[in-house]
């Protein structure tokens, strides 16, 4: 993009010795190598401002950007039986869990929340790739079922952000059973005529794609996301051929009929609002800030024609 980001930033960076480099201030884009200032990255939803490479974003950060005013309430997920197989590889499963919890500050690989987007009440679930590769075990299964049940109870659409390497091996066959379990969750939404929108993020692979991630009413993927059942490495080893550039990426899947859309993360919120409101038969979203509580009814936007509880106000000033 510009010489400052490509040239000056790494130079500035080199002024610091390795140990002194404040790790929390800069990070390097995997796409183009540009050094990006952390705050800038956060403001840009972890999308490189130079090459638009989409970096991982935690479910909590994603929800903060997604929900109106960053306000959402977590939906509780029933705790599953921990370590049902007493699984142990090089480490004990409970030890791996604790390490992941410590590294991410999260309980498990999926976060479920309810709130409003563009004043449209929804339930959302997001998978956390940084938590043991986002792997689908009993907790993730429970989370998706809880999300679907909550959506059905509140009569709201469910928006699910998928990201996973696949099933959680440490839970053996019980992780595999999350494929039918989560499919039941999708059926609950279908029977209740509620929209189920899947946003496939990098990477969404294995049993996750073969179940709830491919059963949406609408499939949207983030640019460049790897989406597949068998991963490229497995295929290359099996067929002993090099796979073409872009194989199993979001754009490739769009061409092959598997996705409705590929959408930049920065445009995703508006698009989700638009799609959910149209599927629900709601009038267009009112853009801009919420009216003051004492605003006369005549000036209230159309979205208020339906009965709706007052919204929690964002903590920043409601006036532009």
């Amino acid at each position: 993009m510009n010489w400052i980001s490509n040239y000056v930033r790494p130079r500035i960076n080199s002024l610091f010795s390795r140990r002194e480099m404040p790790e929390n201030l800069w990070s390097k884009c995997e796409g183009c190598g540009t050094m990006l200032f952390h705050r800038e990255l956060t403001d840009n939803l972890h999308v490189c401002s130079n090459c638009s490479h989409h970096m991982p974003i935690s479910p909590r950060k994603r929800f903060h950007a997604l929900f109106d005013g960053g306000v959402f309430a977590e939906v509780p997920v029933p705790a599953p039986n921990a370590d049902p197989l007493h699984f142990r590889d090089q480490k004990k499963y409970p030890d791996r869990m604790r390490a992941a919890q410590k590294a991410t500050g999260e309980k498990e690989a999926m976060l479920v929340a309810e709130g409003e987007i563009g004043r449209t009440p929804i339930v959302a679930a997001a998978q956390d790739f940084s938590f043991m590769g986002g792997s689908m075990g009993m907790y993730v299964g429970n989370a998706i079922i809880a999300a679907a049940q909550r959506a059905v109870k509140l009569k709201r659409p469910l928006i699910l952000f998928s990201a996973a390497g696949g099933a959680r091996m440490q839970e053996g066959i019980l992780s595999l059973m999350q494929m039918p379990r989560t499919t039941v969750a999708v059926e609950m939404l279908r029977e209740a005529d509620l929209p189920y929108i899947v946003v496939l993020t990098h990477p969404t692979t294995g049993g996750v794609t073969a179940s709830y991630a491919m059963l949406g009413d609408v499939h949207i993927a983030e640019p460049g996301a790897l989406i597949c059942f068998a991963g490229p490495r497995v295929i290359e080893q099996t067929i002993r051929e090099k796979l073409p550039e872009g194989f199993q990426r979001a754009e490739y899947l769009l061409d092959h009929g598997m996705l409705d859309r590929v959408t930049d993360r920065r445009a995703l919120r508006d698009e989700l609002i638009s799609i959910t409101r149209m599927l629900l038969g709601e009038p267009p979203a009112v853009s801009g800030d919420l009216p003051k509580p004492e605003a006369p009814a005549a000036e209230a936007p159309k979205a208020d024609a339906k009965e709706r509880k007052p919204k929690p106000q964002p903590d920043k000033s409601a006036e532009p």
Binding site: R190, P195, M214, L254, H256, G257, M278, L279, G281, P284
Partner: protein, 320 residues
């Protein structure tokens, strides 16, 4: 720059001359040619009226195929807001000959689906000249299912020379895809309205046009086979397309008499290509009227209405 059809050649000459005169008047002050130019304009207007007063069926075919006619994308861009294209058949590919997605007509969310022919060499190839493959029909079926689930009216815009006659298309079940699409049209418990905006080419058109209400633009055509194809089969002479066009009764006016078209939307003098805005607006008005009328019906009534319409077809001859 106006694109003239073969039969418009004399008109092209006069309009060209008038344009030349005006250009001359702009450069030199001495010669006053405005009177002459006006006379030519009047002559051109008379000729246009005469040419279009009683267009032969073959000429109508040419107008229906005119490259400057508004195409599906033009209608979608102009008439709908929040258009959110949805892609893919979730099986093999996304067919660019068929476009469709969620959109709002006024504030009313609808599903819009149509054939798109493209407007220049590049887009025509991309769109396969509006000839859909099985994936196009399967995408349409998927979108109609989505509309059904969320009770959205379906708008289809038909403009296709016919379904694509290719090897791959056959292998992947072109006929099955068309049959299923027609069947889906008949099953919808939501209003389904169609406008034939250009060419209604055979089964490829029926797959989208098995609707509660079918409107045709004044110079659009809808036929079991192209006049050229018919001529080469029945006359054993492809040059007999004028005779074939005559015999096939493919004009909007004849189809209205036969009950295949429920209404004819008038086009501006000289065809849709001479005033694209007026044409698009007229189609928008017709669409809104048809949807408003049908919205009063229950899902069962909509299915019955559609069945009855097609069961009764043929009982009415041209003389009626």
């Amino acid at each position: 720059m106006q694109n003239y059809l073969e039969f418009e050649k004399p008109l092209a000459e006069i309009e060209g001359k008038a344009e030349e005169l005006r250009a001359m008047a702009r450069t030199s002050e001495e010669t006053d040619v405005s009177k002459e130019a006006e006379a030519l304009d009047r002559k051109a207007a008379d000729m246009l009226r005469d040419l279009y007063k009683d267009l032969s069926p073959w000429r109508k075919c040419q107008v229906a195929r005119h490259p400057d006619r508004p195409h599906c994308k033009d209608y979608i861009d102009a008439l709908f807001t929040e258009y959110t294209p949805l892609a893919g058949d979730r099986n093999f590919a996304d067919d660019h000959a068929v476009m469709g997605g969620l959109a709002r007509l006024g504030d009313r969310p609808v599903m819009v689906i149509g054939h798109e022919k493209g407007h220049d060499t590049k887009t025509r190839i991309e769109r396969n000249f509006g000839m859909a493959r099985p994936e196009g029909y399967r995408k349409a079926i998927r979108l109609m299912d989505l509309a059904q689930r969320f009770k959205l009216p379906v708008v289809t815009l038909v403009d296709t020379p016919g379904a694509y006659p290719g090897k791959g298309a056959e292998e992947r079940g072109q006929s099955e895809a068309i049959a299923r699409s027609t069947q889906k049209c008949l099953q919808l418990g939501v209003p389904l309205v169609t406008v034939i905006i250009g060419e209604g080419g055979s089964g490829g058109a029926v797959a989208f046009a098995t609707a509660n209400r079918v409107a045709m633009l004044e110079h659009s055509v809808y036929s079991v086979i192209s006049p050229e194809g018919c001529a080469s089969i029945l006359w054993k002479d492809a040059d007999k397309m004028r005779e074939a066009a005559e015999a096939l009764r493919l004009t909007a006016q004849d189809l209205a008499k036969l009950g295949v078209a429920d209404r004819v939307i008038p086009e501006p003098l000289g065809g849709a290509q001479r005033d694209r805005h007026a044409t698009v607006a007229a189609v928008g008005k017709a669409l809104a009227e048809m949807i408003v009328e049908l919205e009063k019906k229950t899902p069962e009534q909509l299915v019955d209405d559609r069945r009855k319409k097609f069961l009764d077809l043929g009982s009415k001859g041209l003389a009626a």
